[in-house]
């Protein structure tokens, strides 16, 4: 029946998403244990070579092994993603729950505050922080994290409002449940699936943002490799090695696609009512 059909499609996207995400996570894990070449191992004798037996993806203008750069680069991507989404959810979710369960004024002020934070997109925040502290992984994480807070606040508020006005919360209040126990036993479990789906999608956006910031030189600084900066370096050598920008781009695209598909798949599985989006 159509539900089974949809569940299968939901499964498909979820498995593809999980596979891609798994691949990136494995890359990051492996990079701690094994790297074909040192990230700073320069081999001036063969620079800008194409993919070969000992350099699977070839070498860059300084003779460094591209595969190693990509492999270790995955660490930064995941690290920034986890911390940024962590910041956004740890601030955004409680704020959203507060707005969704309190009176009109609290609700209104929180939403206006979110509008103001929204006026400072990640890139802008990163630029401001970089003006003071210079570009770094920390700048990228904080900028992306804070810029994503309004997203989590808004969806949590909407989900909390829906739960707070539900019959089962009315009944719970009738037998004395209120305050924190009400939030923990009734609100949180029922909004968890929406937040998980959002976290997965936010992770994808965070990867894109981190890559852009590194490309602009505001993110992770050398020598730590990151896909964004590899693209920036590749741009200056387009004439000699047109293949250079392909690999980091593919790595970014696959991991972003992975988290987005995981988000869609989770949405189908966790909360059937959200299925059609």
């Amino acid at each position: 029946m159509t539900d089974r059909l949809l569940a299968r499609r939901g499964n498909l996207t979820r498995w593809m998403g999980l596979a891609l995400v798994g691949f990136v996570v494995v890359m990051a894990a492996v990079s701690f244990v094994w790297q074909p070449y040192g990230i700073e191992a320069i081999d001036p004798t063969n620079t800008n070579t194409g993919p070969s037996v000992d350099h699977w993806l070839g070498t860059d203008p300084l003779g460094r092994d591209i595969f190693t750069q990509i492999l270790v680069g995955s660490r930064t991507t995941l690290f920034v993603g986890v911390v940024a989404v962590g910041i956004a959810s740890l601030i955004g979710v409680p704020v959203g729950m507060l707005a969704g369960s309190s009176g009109r004024w609290v609700n209104e002020t929180v939403m206006r505050a979110m509008d103001i934070v929204f006026a400072f997109p990640a890139v802008l925040l990163a630029i401001i922080l970089a003006a003071g502290f210079g570009g770094s992984t920390l700048t990228a994480m904080i900028a992306i994290g804070i810029a994503t807070v309004p997203v989590f606040a808004r969806i949590t508020r909407a989900a909390t409002l829906q739960v707070m006005t539900s019959d089962y919360v009315l009944v719970a209040r009738s037998y004395g449940r209120r305050g924190v126990p009400l939030m923990v036993r009734y609100v949180l479990p029922n909004i968890a699936s929406v937040i998980i789906v959002q976290a997965s999608v936010a992770f994808a956006i965070a990867i894109l943002a981190e890559a852009a910031l590194s490309y602009l030189g505001l993110g992770t600084q050398p020598p730590t490799p990151t896909w964004g900066r590899s693209l920036q370096e590749a741009q200056t050598y387009l004439f000699i090695n047109p293949l250079l920008p392909v690999w980091p781009g593919v790595a970014i695209a696959l991991s972003v696609l992975g988290f987005n598909l995981l988000g869609d798949g989770l949405r189908d599985a966790l909360d059937p009512t959200l299925r059609e989006r």
């Binding site: 029946m1 159509t2 059909l5």
Partner: protein, 320 residues
């Protein structure tokens, strides 16, 4: 022999391999009011949608539906559109979402006339105001300029009724038209429906879960359960001598007002199984007290000896 207004033969609606409507057959004569009774999940609304050609795209509809002698199943969409809203119209259950929130109600009524080239824009607007008056709404010209959210549930259902009757239809299908309304508002709407259907000489197919509603408005009755018609006949006959155990159970469960609350109501055991999980043979077998191995075979809809109307049951309830 005059051609029946609507002739449905072996109508089946399937989603994948689950049958929601299984081989429904009945016919309606012109000028007759028929009630289609059944609880949620019995396939009554889906039957109406299939007749109108508005079943969801994921459904496969088979069988035959002949309206005024012409076959509708498989007919090209263009031709069906000439019929829908003109000779064959429908009122759905939920007035709150049936109207386009961004368009004035007068305009939405006038549209019916324009789509069927029965009037130009100006003429259609004037007739829309007359139609608003016909459905007894206050200050028709001003109401025509209102948006749906400015009207109550009852008022919106009258607008939907005006749209359904604009093209002077031969058959009006009303799918639970008053379920979402208050009881006094429902009474006014039913009064209006009764008057208009008589004045415009329109046949009515009233779909409902409320036996007393059908008793108040219809002459013929079809009882549906598990996607099939289990009993069929004149309302008075079926109420007097319900032959199918399900109809009998439904009849007694609905007659709250006769019992004084001391003894328990006669109930039907268990609950309606989800689609696709009805038992083979007689669909009511798993909830019926008379069920035996004979019921493993699908009971045909026929008139048992000595009885006035049809029933699909191997062991019809005896009343003597």
């Amino acid at each position: 022999m005059v051609v029946a207004l609507l002739e449905v033969k072996d109508l089946t609606v399937r989603f994948g391999d689950d049958e929601a409507v299984r081989g429904v057959s009945f016919s309606l004569d012109s000028g007759v009011r028929t009630g289609l009774i059944g609880e949620s999940g019995c396939g009554k609304s889906l039957t109406a949608l299939a007749i109108l050609g508005l079943a969801p795209t994921t459904a496969t509809v088979t069988g035959s539906v002949r309206f005024e002698g012409e076959e509708l199943i498989g007919r090209p969409e263009r031709e069906l559109c000439r019929l829908r809203g003109n000779r064959l119209t429908v009122v759905f259950q939920e007035p709150m979402s049936a109207l386009n929130p961004l368009m004035k109600v007068g305009r939405q009524i006038a549209e019916v006339l324009e789509v069927h080239d029965k009037a130009g824009r100006g003429e259609a607007r004037r007739r829309a105001i007359d139609l608003i008056e016909m459905v007894r709404l206050p200050d028709p010209s001003r109401t025509a300029h209102k948006y749906p959210h400015q009207l109550s549930g009852g008022q919106r259902q009258r607008i939907v009724l005006a749209m359904a009757l604009a093209g002077d239809p031969a058959l009006l299908i009303a799918d639970e038209p008053t379920t979402a309304l208050d009881v006094t508002v429902q009474a006014d709407i039913l009064l209006l429906l009764d008057d208009l259907v008589r004045d415009l000489d329109t046949s009515l197919l009233l779909i409902s879960h409320d036996l007393s509603l059908v008793a108040s408005l219809c002459e013929e009755l079809l009882v549906m359960y598990g996607g099939t018609i289990v009993e069929r006949g004149r309302v008075s006959e079926v109420f007097a001598r319900p032959l199918h155990p399900y109809t009998a159970g439904l009849h007694s469960a609905s007659s709250l007002e006769h019992s004084d609350g001391t003894d328990d109501l006669r109930t039907i055991e268990g609950s309606v199984p989800p689609i696709g999980q009805f038992p083979g043979g007689c669909v009511f077998r798993n909830r019926c007290e008379y069920a035996d191995e004979v019921c493993l075979g699908v009971p045909p809809l026929r008139v048992p000896p000595g009885e006035p109307h049809e029933v699909a049951c191997h062991h019809p309830v005896s009343h003597d």
